[in-house]
Structure formats: C-alpha cells, structure tokens
C-alpha cells in the first residue's frame, strides 16, 4: 500500500500501530472505563447498603428499576470493556494475523454469549411472578 505525496496526514497513519486500525478502539476503552467507574461504584455501594444478602432482599433490589437498569448497563459495559482489554492483550502477544483474527472473533462471541446469559438472568429476576 503506497501512498503518494498527496495523502493527508490522517490517511498516512491509518492502519498503523500493532492493532492495524486507528484510535477508535483506544477511545472506546476510555469511554467504557469512565462509565464502568460509575457503574461499578454504584454496585459496590448498593451491595454495602443492603440490610443483608438474603435472596428476598436481593430480588427486591434487582427487581426494582433502581437495581435493574444500572445492572443491565453494568453487564453490557463490563463485558464490552473487558473484551476490549483482552483484545489488546491478544494484539500485543499474538503476532500471526490469522490467529489474531480468530481470537478476536472468539472473544467477541464469548462476550456476547456471557452478556446475554447475565441479561437473561436479570430479566428473569425482574419479570418473575410475585411470590404469594
């Protein structure tokens, strides 16, 4: 891929770097990190403020909008951020392009599967019929 004198500075650097793509992934990782900072501290303080860890207490908390909505956001953001981080590790240590693409694919599938399972469990808690 040769580029003439006319290429803009941006066009010249596109595709460079160990990941072979631009700063989008890097920036996304920062955005999700800030969101996770808030969401994980929310989870942490919510757990500490619960009167106990009995099943009924947890169900009531996670079944409410104040529990379920941040938890859903936390699940999606945490899986996204976690898998973005693991992809960077793969980029750093796996040099064969085929293996790298395969691992990225597997990690993405694992993250989607994991997040789906967690969201489904949360949905079951939220939409569970109220026990008599």
């Amino acid at each position: 891929m040769t580029q003439g004198e006319s290429a803009t500075p941006l066009a010249k650097v596109r595709g460079l770097g160990s990941a072979h793509h631009g700063g989008g992934h890097w920036l996304e990782e920062r955005f999700t990190s800030v969101a996770l900072l808030l969401l994980s501290l929310w989870l942490f303080f919510s757990l500490l403020m619960l009167p106990n860890f009995e099943l009924a207490t947890l169900k009531e908390w996670l079944g409410s909008a104040w529990g379920a909505i941040p938890m859903a956001l936390l699940i999606v953001t945490a899986f996204k951020h976690g898998i973005d981080g693991l992809k960077v590790v793969v980029d750093d240590y796996v040099h064969d392009e085929g293996n790298r693409i395969a691992l990225h694919y597997l990690l993405t599938m694992a993250a989607i599967a994991g997040a789906s399972v967690a969201l489904f469990a949360l949905a079951r808690i939220v939409f569970a019929p109220v026990a008599a």
Partner: protein, 131 residues
C-alpha cells in the same frame, strides 16, 4: 514483523531496574484479565443463582462463603480496586501529565496502597452486612 531479518534489538526487557511503575502496569493487565474472566463469571453466576430461587441461591451462597470462595472473592475485590485505581492513573497519564519521575513513582505506589486499604475496608464492612 519479519523474523528472518537479523535486526539488532535493544535489550528492553533485561537492563531495567524493576520499579513500581512497571509493577502497576503489569498488575493493571493481570487484574483486568482476572476481572473479565473470573469477575464476570461470578457476576453472571450470581445473577443466575438469584433468578433460580432458593436452592440455586443457597448453593451459590454456600460456595461463596466457603474458605475457597472467600479467597476468590477477596482476590477479586483487590483486583477490582487495583484496576480501578491504576485505571484512574492511566486516565491521568493519557492527558500527558504525571510522567515526572518522582510523581510517576509516587502515584504508582499510591494505587497499591489504595487498593490494599480499600480491600481491607470493603471486607470489614462486608462482614458486618453479611451477618
């Protein structure tokens, strides 16, 4: 890139005196990996157990409060705080500040102090709630 080319490499991994910045850097990666693999697995399992009802939740609670379970959870708590603090440090470093040798070293050490303190406080409070 090209392994056949006999190009000289600087001895980048062998000539450095190990310092706090390097420790925190590799810990950020290790704790991030642990939180993604083990932390998210525990989170998903915990939600599944709550959704599953008394028997499933009882099984989870029994394992989580067993000695082995507590060690894993305490480890994840420390990994969470360490990754949070070193992550905050990275966000500051991303802005281009904090690279002066003494400042960099100080905040690297502070992430370790902070994570250990926060882990101790977390478990102190947690034992109060759990009982």
């Amino acid at each position: 890139m090209n392994s056949t080319a006999e190009r000289p490499l600087s001895p980048h991994l062998t000539i450095w005196k190990w310092g706090p910045g390097m420790t925190v850097s590799i810990l950020h990666r290790i704790t991030g990996g642990a939180l993604t693999v083990a932390g998210l697995a525990v989170l998903a399992w915990w939600l599944i157990a709550i959704a599953g009802g008394d028997a499933a939740y009882g099984e989870f609670a029994k394992l989580a409060t067993s000695p082995a379970g507590m060690i894993v959870l305490a480890g994840l708590t420390w990994a969470f705080w360490q990754h949070l603090f070193s992550g905050l440090r990275h966000l500051v470093l991303d802005t281009g500040s904090g690279y002066e040798l003494k400042v960099n070293r100080f905040w690297a050490i502070m992430t370790l102090v902070g994570s250990l303190t926060a882990t101790a406080v977390t478990w102190y409070v947690l034992m109060g709630v759990g009982k």
